[in-house]
């Protein structure tokens, strides 16, 4: 097997050599092992060129071995599951994995854009801003196409995402973020106290850096300790372990967001398995043990494949048994970097030199290196690199100033460690520079958060264990779970110094600060020269830290260079703010199940199934699905159905499902007085058994909602609202009661879902209702006139509420039964009504009927109209206070020139009216100053045989009989209409009352 994987070590690593996995990269087949990442498997196969850079198309290989990776970005999978910009360093290898390099043309090895750096001058600092300053025509025709072709990352899939995503909640006492030595110790200390603990780590296995280092704990490999602790935690009922889970955001009051990659390590999710799960974790206390990320050093050609973080080199050697190169050079500004030389030697590679930028590295390191025969250059720097598609040699500048070339295929770079402070800053607190540590450490912490281990700047293993254990114990104790301190295992505790060394002066070639966005030392210096001294400005001007990696390796180096270029200290320069998410999160995971038909819940009335069986087309009204019309065989379009339904109501009788209307029971000693306060008209004078049309205003004087109010008893009312406003009216009533009239004795109960309700309208409606409620109920107009209410029984057994009220202008009733009887009621009505010529009608016919009657509805109750505008000024009582009364009287709202509701007919009756058209005087120029109002609702009236409309027209009532233009530039229409009374049918109301 190793023959096929030339850089795989013969032994070691946390890989399963018994489980070989096949995969392809850019169409070529390779083999790796279970436990590999895509990056480790490619390196094992000797592939280190994995992508091209964003702007300059420079060849790139992996810089790191984890989530911070800026370079090795690939397109993963194909078709609908193709995902761009995935980090090869964190993709768990699976059998059949397909990956492609991105941002190269025509091929990764030969890329036209990269050959001559043709466009390099375009892409210097501030290029976005400068190019936008050019004439617009240049931008559109010339620069944008070039930049689009030249710069960019991977391609998103074009098909809809086939996977499912989940959202879930967790509550705990202590959340521990990171399962490295500090996190494991924290979780163990907290868990043993009995506290509810959640331990989340982005990796598939616990251990953190222990997986990548040769550290020992209690004289055994550190990985074994990690496994033992994880095993103990897994066996505890009060502990939840979340592997493959990145805690990516910290929000107010201890809320954390985490992404669990449930099935990303599989070729595709199993049936009914989600791909990813978004966790919202509510933690009383949290311990951030996110470790640290090694920072690069900026020098010429530091982006060449084969130049790697020293910590990543050790990770590939120890965790994946992969040799990232055979001839290594170490370039370090920290003691820690020196470990890499030992690791390489142990793996059988040669170490050509250790180049330490510090003039006097610790004597102990020098002695140990001497004992191994290592060549050490102290106070020296790597100034440049060579090699076509990968590293072949480095240039070293010695303290004497002379230059030395060293052949090598691997350069391990250690610029020191940056604590992973991101989450500690998500609430806005900036990290602070610790000069002794030469690193940023967390500043003021959000309440309830502690930081432990390397994330807090404690870099030795023993310190991480002690720090974590104490943070875990303290967090549990703060939640009321006292525990004995953990007995700490033995581990190394030698301090490792690191210098504040960020870039090599006088680099040969481009010295990259931000690999992913191709930002160089020169760019940062240029930004400083051009006046971008603020770190926030320089960031935006150079795009430093703005790529998908959010500058995890780049930011500190960049601001250190900015500090130097502006002659300030790093403290004085400061850092930019870290914001969620820590690593990229798929939109699908944030959306979860809320997409397509599941975007929001669908509400069906009790008669929905019946309607569907009877040819209904449904329309969404808020969350409801309402029957819009019921098509019959032979009808050619919706108009046929709607005309037939509306005619049937005017001629015989129709039934319409009105269950979606908001229904609220208002009960209490002060119910009547309260309704006087929320409706414009007087309700308290309404007798029991009678119904009144009611209008509610907002406190600003505009119409809020309308409906009916029936008095079912002295202290009991049943009110209805429009379908769309049901929830808001309920909130409004509760506000008016609890805040404005707190002393009143009144309660509300939303019963929208409790009642199935139908409207039965038409000249034969009384006959039909009589058959439903039986002979015991006197339905004569004398006994049960228009605007009456009664409690009755349907079929002698189902309790029901009967109202006589009309929206259509015909004699009409509304009949409500408990929701469970809705379906049976509808089927029963259809059966007994058939001999009367009964038809079901939908919301379209309902709308035709109400436009014919001039009733305001959605188009008119649009939040801009007053009661007077709608011709309802007479409903505004002058005898009482009510919500909206005072501001409804403001001069602008009582101006007689305000547009007011009137009706419209096309002068040429064959023409069709359209809502939204604006009114102009005939001959007036179409300008906003001449605007006279607009059409709010239109319908084809089968009763009249032509199109009719309602609209708001300035001084409309005075203009009845006149002609105006209905001007509709959006639809390119301009027709002459006649102004008329808004009630087209039976203006005296005889049919309604008859």
């Amino acid at each position: 097997m190793n023959g096929a994987q030339p850089m795989r070590l013969a032994a070691g690593g946390a890989i399963d050599r018994a489980r070989p996995l096949g995969f392809t990269f850019d169409g070529r087949a390779y083999a790796g092992f279970a436990g590999d990442t895509l990056a480790s498997a490619l390196l094992a196969n000797g592939v280190r060129l994995m992508g091209r850079s964003f702007k300059y198309h420079r060849p790139r290989g992996p810089w790191g071995a984890g989530a911070e990776e800026p370079n090795a970005l690939v397109e993963l999978r194909t078709g609908a599951r193709r995902e761009p910009n995935t980090r090869a360093t964190v993709i768990e290898l699976f059998d059949g994995l397909v990956a492609q390099s991105q941002n190269r043309w025509p091929s990764l090895r030969f890329d036209v854009m990269g050959v001559n750096g043709l466009f390099a001058p375009i892409f210097t600092a501030g290029f976005y801003y400068k190019t936008f300053m050019w004439p617009a025509s240049f931008w559109e025709k010339l620069y944008e196409p070039i930049i689009r072709r030249a710069a960019g990352l991977g391609r998103a899939a074009r098909e809809p995402d086939p996977d499912e995503y989940d959202r879930s909640h967790l509550f705990c006492d202590v959340l521990v973020i990171g399962a490295g030595p500090a996190g494991l110790a924290a979780a163990l200390a907290a868990a043993r106290s009995g506290a509810r603990v959640v331990l989340a780590d982005e990796d598939v296995r616990p251990g953190g850096r222990l997986l990548a280092e040769a550290h020992e704990i209690d004289s055994a490999p550190g990985v074994l300790w990690a496994e033992r602790v994880a095993g103990e935690l897994a066996g505890m009922a009060n502990v939840t372990l979340l592997a493959r889970t990145t805690v990516f955001g910290l929000f107010d009051h201890g809320a954390f967001a985490a992404l669990e990659r449930v099935a990303d390590h599989l070729p595709e999710p199993a049936p009914h398995q989600v791909r990813q799960r978004l966790w919202r974790i509510q933690a009383r206390r949290a311990v951030l043990a996110a470790g640290a990320i090694e920072r690069p050093i900026a020098f010429g050609g530091n982006d060449r494949p084969g130049v790697m973080a020293a910590s990543a080199v050790r990770a590939y050697l120890h965790r994946w048994a992969v040799l990232p190169g055979r001839r290594g050079v170490v370039f370090t500004a920290s003691d820690d970097g020196w470990r890499t030389a030992d690791a390489l030697l142990a793996a059988g590679a040669s170490v050509e030199a250790v180049v330490d930028a510090r003039p006097d590295p610790p004597a102990a390191l020098m002695r140990a290196a001497g004992a191994r025969g290592l060549r050490v250059h102290a106070g020296a720097q790597v100034v440049g690199t060579h090699g076509h598609l990968g590293l072949q040699a480095v240039d070293v500048r010695l303290p004497s100033g002379s230059s030395l070339g060293i052949d090598c295929d691997l350069l391990a770079v250690s610029g020191g460690w940056n604590p992973t402070v991101h989450l500690a800053s998500h609430q806005g607190a900036k990290p602070v520079w610790d000069a002794a540590l030469a690193a940023f450490v967390p500043g003021r912490l959000p309440e309830g958060l502690a930081v432990a281990g390397a994330a807090a700047g404690r870099f030795t293993l023993a310190a991480c264990l002690a720090d974590g254990a104490e943070a875990g114990r303290a967090a549990a104790s703060a939640c009321g779970h006292a525990a004995a301190p953990l007995v700490l295992p033995r581990a190394a505790d030698e301090p490792a110094a690191q210098a504040a060394f960020f870039h090599v002066p006088g680099p040969r070639g481009k010295a990259f600060v931000d690999f992913q966005n191709d930002v160089t030392v020169k760019d940062v210096k240029q930004a400083a020269r051009e006046g971008y001294r603020s770190v926030e400005h320089a960031k935006r001007y150079t795009t430093l830290g703005m790529a998908t990696d959010q500058g995890k390796t780049a930011n500190v180096v960049g601001l250190a260079i900015l500090a130097e270029a502006t002659g300030r200290s790093i403290e004085a320069t400061g850092t930019t703010i870290f914001r969620p998410p820590y690593t990229p999160v798929a939109m699908g995971a944030i959306v979860g199940h809320h997409r397509g038909r599941d975007f929001r819940p669908a509400r069906h009335t009790p008669m929905h199934d019946w309607a569907a069986e009877n040819g209904a087309s449904f329309v969404e009204v808020g969350p409801w699905y309402r029957a819009q019309w019921y098509a019959r065989p032979g009808e050619k379009g919706w108009r046929d159905s709607v005309d037939r339904e509306a005619e049937a109501v005017r001629r015989a009788v129709g039934v319409c499902d009105v269950s979606t209307l908001g229904k609220i029971e208002v009960v209490g000693r002060d119910a009547a007085a309260f309704l006087d306060f929320v409706y414009t008209s007087m309700i308290s004078t309404l007798p029991v058994g009678r119904v009144r049309y009611g209008l509610m205003l907002r406190e600003d004087g505009l119409v809020f909602d309308d409906g009916t109010c029936a008095r079912m008893g002295p202290e009991r009312f049943f009110i209805t609202t429009t379908t769309a406003n049901a929830g808001r009216v309920m909130q409004h009533l509760e506000f008016c009661h609890q805040v404005l009239k707190p002393a009143m004795d009144v309660s509300f109960l939303s019963v929208t879902d409790r009642w199935a309700q139908v409207s039965i309208a038409g000249p034969r409606s009384r006959d039909l209702v009589a058959m439903l409620v039986g002979p015991g109920v006197d339905l004569s107009t004398a006994a049960f006139p228009h605007m009456s209410a009664a409690e009755v029984e349907v079929c002698g057994q189902v309790p029901a509420r009967l109202f006589r009220l009309s929206f259509s202008g015909e004699m009409a009733y509304e009949l409500g039964v408990p929701a469970d009887f809705g379906d049976a009621l509808m089927r029963h009505i259809m059966q007994v009504g058939a001999p009367l010529g009964l038809v079901p009608y939908g919301t379209e016919a309902l709308s035709v009927l109400r436009v014919e009657k001039g009733h305001p509805a959605g188009g008119e109750l649009n939040g801009h109209t007053t009661a007077r505008d709608l011709g309802l000024g007479g409903m505004m009582s002058r005898k009482k206070d009510y919500v909206g009364r005072r501001l409804a009287e403001r001069p602008a709202f009582t101006d007689p020139a305000r547009p007011i509701l009137v009706g419209f007919k096309p002068v040429d009756r064959g023409q069709e009216l359209k809502s939204g058209a604006h009114f102009l005087d005939p001959g007036a120029e179409a300008r906003i100053e001449n605007d006279q109002g607009y059409m709010t609702s239109v319908a084809f009236s089968p009763a009249l045989g032509h199109s009719i409309g309602l609209g708001l027209l300035a001084r409309g009532r005075e203009r009845i009989g006149q002609q105006v233009r209905a001007y509709d530039p959006v639809r390119n229409r301009d027709i002459v209409v006649e102004v008329c009374h808004p009630v087209f049918i039976d203006p005296e109301g005889d049919r309604t009352r008859g």
Binding site: F251, D252, H253, G254, A255, Q282, E699, D700, Q731, E734, F735, H737, Q738, V739, L740, K741, P742, A743, M744, D745, D881, R885, R886, L887, R890
Partner: protein, 89 residues
């Protein structure tokens, strides 16, 4: 954000409806138009502690007066509006 409802205990802010600054005193019906315009439209936008109306719509449906620091999002106190206005609880 977590809001301790006096009736239901601590709940996530997604259960609450936010209305805006808690202006308690509705002017008299015959108060000046200016007083009414102030009441309906004018709101302070404090940087720091302020009182706001929220309704626990997905819980007990109580309208609450939430005192909150707009700078830190710290919840300083939560009280039922009805009790604060002298009504029954």
């Amino acid at each position: 954000m977590r809001i301790p409802c006096p009736y239901c205990g601590e709940r996530g802010n997604e259960e609450f409806l936010y209305l805006g600054s808690a202006v308690l005193e509705r002017p008299a019906p015959d108060a000046s138009a200016e007083a009414w315009v102030d009441y309906v439209h004018m709101r302070d936008n404090p940087r720091g502690p302020g009182a706001e109306f929220m309704q626990h719509v997905q819980g007990c449906r109580a309208w609450l007066i939430v005192r909150r620091d707009t700078l830190t999002h710290a919840i300083l106190s939560v009280a039922p509006a009805r009790a604060a206005r002298g009504g029954g609880a």
